[in-house]
């Protein structure tokens, strides 16, 4: 019968390509990592599921008028979703530890070396003919070293949308892997004595400082680095809402309903780019490898910077907290705390590590601005 034939022709078994099948398996793998291994579940559950949905053959989901494609066009191509998420991150960020010890901004700066070293690695791979990346793609890959999900998605969406899914997955996976990637590097670059350094109790930060800081940051951005204004502007907006104390109902919604809704659709939208053609190639392998390198170099740079600062300053810094400069909030700070406790069981570094941790968010948003400005976003 015709109808049975049409039914069979429309079935997944008849239409599925090998690529689609593999991508569904990769989607299941992401779900496994998210659900069982607890790898950044908010993003990897949504990206993974979006990836599976997008590889079901013969139905418009990630193409044409399909929901996920519309979500991608409306929210990610425009940059709106990562910016809104960044606003939400701002509304959840406490700059107190950073304000109590502003020197830790240097650690957040140093850790961005991972971004640019990786960029250089990508162009080197390209120059030697191993893989093919142009400068925009290299920049988008480098940003994985920023260890900041929305920043990575924003930059990749502007500079290399064809690599978006791979970059987002690498960024979130390595953020989840921070407890595995960072400790060996920390230990290799520090002595037991350095890891035992205790730091002075942080001073209390006044409400006024917390209110003024996002505005100060915004003004400096406006005067010096407008290209970082979309990301850091939304971030400062979220943070100002949080700290100003007069719009608590907006802050509450930003931290909850709004960021959750946008996260769901951001993840699905990123997942819609998980097509076999875009993902199953050597570039993706290169991205995963380079992303790992970016994290390692960023971690090392932060630790070495802290050691350098100790040479010049009387107030010592435990170099472990330098690793938190990569961001990966709050995982990297927790890892620093854990490694610190191993060296000295009464040395709680968590709050000290929150300073470089949030500094790293600012640092990689600044780097993102530069990358977009100079490679023509």
């Amino acid at each position: 019968m015709d109808a049975l034939q049409q039914l069979w022709a429309g079935s997944g078994l008849a239409q599925m390509t090998l690529g689609q099948g593999l991508m569904i398996v990769i989607g299941l793998l992401l779900l496994y990592l998210a659900i069982v291994r607890k790898f950044e579940p908010l993003l990897l559950v949504t990206i993974g599921f979006g990836g599976i949905l997008s590889n079901i053959p013969g139905v418009e989901i990630a193409t044409g008028d399909g929901l996920l494609h519309m979500v991608y066009v409306v929210g990610i191509e425009t940059g709106a979703f990562p910016l809104i998420i960044f606003m939400g991150v701002g509304a959840m960020t406490d700059f107190g530890p950073l304000l109590a010890n502003p020197r830790t901004l240097f650690l957040g700066a140093a850790a961005q070396f991972g971004i640019f070293a990786t960029l250089l690695g990508a162009v080197a791979l390209s120059a030697t003919g191993v893989l093919e990346f142009d400068l925009k793609q290299a920049a988008a890959i480098g940003i994985i070293g920023g260890a900041d999900g929305p920043t990575a998605i924003f930059v990749a969406g502007k500079l290399a949308p064809e690599l978006l899914a791979a970059i987002a997955i690498a960024a979130y996976s390595y953020m989840a892997l921070v407890p595995i990637i960072q400790p060996p590097i920390m230990r290799a670059l520090t002595t037991q004595a350095e890891r035992e350094i205790t730091m002075v109790q942080l001073r209390e930060v006044s409400k006024a400082e917390k209110v003024v800081f996002p505005l100060l940051l915004l003004l400096l951005i406006a005067l010096l680095l407008p290209s970082a204004a979309p990301l850091l502007g939304m971030f400062c907006f979220g943070n100002l809402m949080r700290e100003c104390g007069v719009v608590d109902r907006l802050t509450d919604t930003t931290q909850n309903a709004l960021i959750n809704i946008v996260t769901i659709f951001l993840g699905l939208g990123v997942g819609s780019k998980l097509s076999a053609e875009a993902f199953l190639n050597t570039q993706t392998l290169g991205i995963l490898m380079l992303g790992m390198v970016a994290f390692a170099i960023g971690t090392a740079s932060g630790v070495l910077m802290a050691k350098g600062m100790n040479l010049l300053s009387k107030t010592p810094i435990n170099p472990i907290i330098g690793a938190a400069g990569v961001s990966a909030v709050p995982m990297a700070a927790r890892v620093a705390n854990k490694v610190g406790l191993e060296a000295n069981s009464s040395n709680y570094l968590l709050m000290h590590a929150m300073g470089p941790n949030v500094a790293g968010v600012i640092g990689s948003a600044v780097a993102a601005g530069i990358l977009i400005q100079f490679t023509g976003g």
């Binding site: 700066a109 640019f116 162009v123 120059a127 003024v212 010096l224 990358l371």
Partner: protein, 76 residues
């Protein structure tokens, strides 16, 4: 040298330079800001807080009056 690598090196130099310069300026600006605020703020801000508490009790009184009036079933 390959022009792409040249561009990469230049981007790294500009990028790390900018990140460090910007965050250094930010450190100075932050320290300055904190000092200004400490200098402007009287040691005890008790009076301010007391005022605020009075304001809040005022608001509370009005709220109570409204609540008293509304014997109707409330939206949760």
């Amino acid at each position: 040298m390959d022009p792409l690598i040249m561009q990469g090196v230049q981007l790294m130099a500009v990028g790390m330079g900018t990140v460090f310069s910007f965050l250094t300026i930010l450190i100075f600006a932050t320290v300055l800001m904190s000092r200004c605020i400490a200098w402007l703020t009287p040691t005890s801000t008790l009076s301010d807080e007391a005022n605020q508490r009075l304001d809040q009790s005022h608001v509370a009184a009005i709220s109570a009056a409204i609540a008293k009036f509304e014997n109707d079933k409330l939206n949760k």
